[in-house]
Symmetry: C2
Subunit: 230 residues, 2 copies
């Protein structure tokens, strides 16, 4: 067994979708799995393309997004290992509903539509797992709709900052990991509004910005805003 096969097996074992499989079943699946490499920025597929199969992130990071003419983008999801991508269009026979792009250099497993469907029929537990994964995906989409429909850019920005801060050691300070441009795509607006709103939050003493370092200064104040009349 070569190094690539080993990676494939390891990733399959770590992926929730395939947790229920036995070792031998996983080996069988692995033999029908491709390992693909993508450079940062490279596009995996574009919305509207026919769906050829499902991906699992082995390393790196992938973002799923819609783009408009006019050049704006709206991010729907960002997935790292060991999550799967595009499980859904595999089943309803339609095209990919959105585009996907590697954020960093990435390796992905690719399983063809046919193989995956066959597996689901053979091992219903896998299908149930898919449903579970898809459930959380749907929840996230509903969350995005809620935010776009009911809340403001400022709101969404604050929520985004909190999400980042929670993931940092002291839950207060973190380094902006993306450009304003990308942040804008994630919260559904444009670069300039991100810049302005960050500036406004700072001048109101709610956060502190130093280069790419952002610190939550007045957490209660920010939380109060999130709570108010969503």
């Amino acid at each position: 067994m070569n190094a690539e096969d080993e990676i494939v097996l390891r990733v399959l074992a770590a992926t929730p979708l395939f947790a229920a499989l036995s070792d031998s079943e996983r080996a069988a699946l692995a033999s029908r799995t491709q390992l693909r490499r993508y450079a940062a920025g490279q596009v995996l597929f574009t919305e509207g393309e026919p769906c050829s199969g499902l991906y699992v992130v082995a390393s790196g990071c992938v973002r799923i997004y819609k783009s408009s003419r006019g050049g704006r983008e709206q991010v729907l999801a960002i997935e790292g290992p060991p999550h799967s991508i595009a499980e859904l269009p595999v089943f309803d026979g339609g095209d990919y509903p959105a585009s996907a792009q590697a954020v960093a250099d990435s390796r992905l497993l690719f399983i063809s539509r046919r193989d995956f469907r066959a597996l689901c029929l053979e091992r219903p537990e896998v299908a149930l797992k898919v449903l579970q994964v898809v459930g959380s995906r749907l929840r996230r989409l509903v969350g995005i709709i809620e935010e776009l429909s009911f809340s403001t850019v400022r709101h969404r920005l604050i929520a985004w900052l909190f999400k980042r801060a929670e993931a940092s050691p002291d839950r207060k300070t973190f380094t902006l990991p993306v450009s304003h441009q990308e942040l804008a795509a994630e919260i559904g607006t444009v670069r300039e509004l991100v810049s302005r709103n960050l500036g406004r939050l700072q001048s109101e003493g709610l956060i502190h910005i130093e280069g790419r370092e952002i610190t939550i200064v007045n957490r209660p104040g920010l939380e109060a805003e999130l709570a108010s009349r969503l």
Copy 2:
């Protein structure tokens, strides 16, 4: 077999989810299915409630929606017979992500979470069907996100009018089937903007309004707007 049982069987047979079942399997499922009645306006479940099972619309019509404090609502889907509702939260163990309400007097089949999961394990074809159904649901949600993120109220209103017109005999004239309030919830805005935008479309000679009758007057003009820099 009484009348209710007959309804249940008939609806199960017509529902895509259960198309793959044999008559005897459907009969077994029917015996574990409840028939529930809801009056127009009655709420089936509210977002955040624990998910107890899945519904199938037997007659009438149900809308799925999120509501904000401040009293606004955003409609996510409207389902008539023989479609199912809330297939998804059944699987990921979470709460209902949105609320559901009968639009008209309705009868719904209710299948408990347990029974439905068991069925999916036993008959993987059912699970695959669920995935297919859920796929189209996800597409619609992505479509909503796209519209909210990239387009304007005017845009969404025109798209909505087209959707209605397509469903009418001459593809031009139809009766507004809902209040402005409800229309606003469906396209993600407020009553006043619906009223104003309808008025504006008429004064620009694009549509004609007479009471609740709406006629598409200048279809090319409207289409051009939909096409422009989405």
